[in-house]
Subunit: 148 residues, 2 copies
Amino acid sequence: MDKPATNIETIAKTCIAGRLRLINRVVSNIYDDALRPFGLKISQGNILIFTGKLGVASPVQICEHLQLDASTLSRNVELMRKNGWLEEVPTDDARSRPFRLTEAGKRLVESAIPAWEKAQAEAKELLGDDFVSLLNKAAKRASESNRA
Amino acid sequence: MDKPATNIETIAKTCIAGRLRLINRVVSNIYDDALRPFGLKISQGNILIFTGKLGVASPVQICEHLQLDASTLSRNVELMRKNGWLEEVPTDDARSRPFRLTEAGKRLVESAIPAWEKAQAEAKELLGDDFVSLLNKAAKRASESNRA
DNA sequence: CGCCTTTATTTGTATATACAACTAATAAAG
DNA sequence: CTTTATTAGTTGTATATACAAATAAAGGCG
């Protein structure tokens, strides 16, 4: 046993991506279930939240913060624009297409907060406090990683 | 300040789902990059790994282990079957459609192990040892959660 | 000013994901 | 043994995601 050969068993038991993806599915489903009455999914919710925080957001800003591919965001924003939750903001740089929450978008976010709280509590209960505590640091590192 | 009103700032800073999704994107990209030379994505890789572990796997088994929707798995298995990595196994219960790795599937998994190891090391480095240590427990809980 | 590079976004294409509805087959009830 | 309920998968539809390529507008340089 000089070299501990990595085998299928080992990967099945230790793969970080596999575990993360599994947890991500379960947790995203918790939030999606809670937000369904509002016609909102957590994927879009997080974009709305960050947009609200920024006031006026450019796609490139959101993509950096959330580590989203630009093409992914583009389509997601388009859907939320059609839903009346986001609106474009005029700008001098014609390459950029910044946007902000509409009034309807703000009302949506406000009204969904109790559902978010419920999902958040359920997720915390499921994953355990210690894990959740470490999420912040890990997410910060991931958010700042520059692998492009 | 009787009731600490949850506001947009709070959600932006604390949403478990948002953080998990972000980490999941970054980490999945690490593995997908590493596995790209093999025409394999980590989403499929994990299904192959679990199939290999089980020997013969039924869709419902994989879905339970990985907390995947049956329709998701169905399409994913179909792709890997077309790629020659999975093959159907005859069964007496005509409702079930179990499958196993083909020889090519086994070879693929074996050949991709060094790339997986590289990605695994990179992910560990990025997320931190303490976080990775807690992943096991959290994933186990998520895997056993029964929210259907 | 005109060319070249960089930056910001969109479009084409493919996989991942889930929900709802459907099909088919076994199991359970009577 | 027939009817009903349960179980296993697939298909329709919609969003999420990323990569590659295309578009378009600034910015920099000679």
